[in-house]
């Protein structure tokens, strides 16, 4: 086991204890507070999905909110059908749609919904990725293309009122019915469902980071051309991580709909997509765990501060982002690593330990 793997697993264990035991205890098992926190956990998943492509492969996907929205709408469509019973969903009547659109029909099935919530984002993300990466588009152009896609996609969703509910989104949803469990979103068990999803997503993310696949992606991030000369099909690797990231975003979207009990086109807005980038940057994009923590911290802060400073909150968030980019480009995670190094160097000097310098050089990368 490498040192890096050890630190990541230790971090995951600590994080799990805090989320599973610490948070519910701190909230006094209050259903409303737990629901709010479950929302943060869902957002943590989409942040870590971005960390996989941005931090892990150097591909800044500004369209992450689009794939998030696809998952969110998939779940909302299922729950809307459930709420409508045999009748047509109410908003369709208002839009003179007399028959259930074909695209809605399979969402009667929960299994289909869950699969579609993962695979549709993965497929669409993969399609964009294939065109971009086959053409060897890289760097800032990836950000521009994905951003353009997001804007166009949101526009289509809003325009197609009869199918998507337009600006209003999909509201008046039924609770999710799992076999033997009608999910009450204001309950401890739902909180644990969200926590379980997040843990699973982080574990998956950590596995990818520590696999040879993750290593090749880091190599591609640093020097794509060199990696091609070793025989790796760079475009395929980049497309694969885009698909995985999109599927995770879709998963987060499904969970988000469950928490908020509606789906809205604002989930696919540019500002939401940029917010994901900020969470990732604050936590540290190099680590999926750090990105998840970043999402939770920023949202926690937003929850507390946006009530007090309704107008000023966005400004504060923006300033925070600028400061993070300027003074800790690797986020809280990078800061933690630097501090640990500093501490070890100090400790090494005091003990006159000769092996200390090589040790710190190592952990500088490992952390």
């Amino acid at each position: 086991m490498t040192t890096r793997l050890f630190y990541d697993l230790a971090g995951l264990a600590l994080f799990a204890v805090v989320i599973v035991l610490g948070v519910p205890a701190l909230m006094g098992f209050d259903a409303f507070e737990l629901n709010t926190f479950a929302r943060y956990l869902a957002l943590a998943i989409v942040a870590l999905a971005l960390a996989l492509s941005w931090g892990g492969a150097g591909l800044l996907n500004l369209g992450q909110a689009a794939t998030f929205g696809m998952g969110s709408y998939a779940m909302a469509m299922h729950l809307k059908l459930k709420a409508s019973g045999d009748a047509l969903p109410d908003f369709m009547g208002w839009n003179n749609v007399s028959e259930l659109p074909l695209i809605w029909v399979p969402f009667h099935s929960l299994a289909f919904t869950l699969i579609a919530g993962l695979l549709v984002p993965a497929f669409i993300g993969g399609l964009i990725a294939i065109f971009m990466f086959r053409a060897r588009i890289a760097g800032v152009f990836v950000a521009i293309i994905t951003l353009a896609f997001l804007v166009a996609f949101q526009l289509v969703v809003i325009e197609q009122q009869g199918i998507t509910g337009g600006q209003n989104g999909l509201t008046g949803l039924a609770p999710l019915e799992l076999p033997g469990w009608s999910v009450d979103t204001y309950s401890l068990s739902f909180y644990y469902l969200a926590a379980g999803c997040l843990m699973l997503a982080i574990t998956l993310g950590l596995y990818i980071t520590h696999s040879k696949f993750g290593l090749i992606l880091r190599a591609i991030r640093e020097d794509a051309d060199r990696t091609r000369f070793f025989g790796y099909n760079v475009a395929n690797y980049q497309t694969a991580i885009f698909c995985i990231s999109a599927a995770l975003a879709g998963w987060a979207g499904m969970l988000y709909t469950l928490v908020l009990e509606f789906a809205s086109p604002t989930y696919m807005s540019v500002s939401f997509s940029l917010a994901i980038v900020i969470w990732c940057a604050v936590g540290g994009r190099d680590s999926v765990l750090a990105a998840a923590v970043g999402a939770i911290l920023v949202n926690l802060l937003e929850g507390k501060l946006s009530d007090i400073y309704v107008e000023g909150w966005n400004l504060m968030l923006g300033v925070t982002f600028v400061l993070v980019v300027m003074f800790m480009p690797r986020g809280l995670h990078g800061l933690l690593g630097d501090l640990t190094n500093l501490f070890r160097r100090g400790a090494g000097k005091r003990r006159g330990n000769r092996s200390a310098p090589t040790q710190t050089a190592k952990t500088g990368q490992e952390l």
Binding site: L215, R218, A240, A361, Q365
Partner: protein, 242 residues
Amino acid sequence: MSHLQVTDLRVDFGGLRAVDGLTFGVKKGEILCLLGPNGAGKSTTLDLICGKTQPTGGSVRFEDVEISRMFEFERARRGVGRKFQVPSVYKELTVAENLAVAQSRKPGIWHALTRLSHSGRDRFEPILEKVGLEKRADVVAGNLSHGETQWLEIAMLIAQDSRLILMDEPTAGMTIQETARTAEIFRTLSKSHTLIVVEHDMSFVRTVADRIIVMNRGALLAEGSITEIEANEDVKTAYLGH
């Protein structure tokens, strides 16, 4: 039969014809040195063989397969490896990780997804010992000295295990001892690999070359053993400009 056969290879950059009707072959297990004055098209020739540059015309056949229209990663998969003039190791990765990337016999995604990043580490130990980096396996490559970086790159070439290795000035910036050690490693490599080396250091060329090709203005000027080349009047003219 040639391991690599280049026939009538041409490439134009704008109006400039950098390589002009070049034809040569390399036998399996041979070390071929490419010489020539600055701008003769030596590095460009390597670029054309490995796929960094697409040729305007002509053919490159490797192990009897035409490779001149393939992507560079497809050529690499077929066994063409390249060492660049500027040391190009991954500075953010550790020495061991660099070798893990270079060890690319199975470059597919599925294989990469089902292996941990440090798997196969024991296989690197002998390679690292060969180049004297065995104690530096966990050092980030960006922290290596210039000489060590060169060694790491050679170790990566060995790990990649290409059947044809293209080297651009492998001994640039090396001390005399390091150059001698490189020459020794090349001789061992040539038992199982074919090498094409662009090099200016004549003493190094003398030690390693089985055969020499001198290029001038994108075309073949002379071909032969070191003594033949040194006696060749055309070569003297090309270098000294008389």
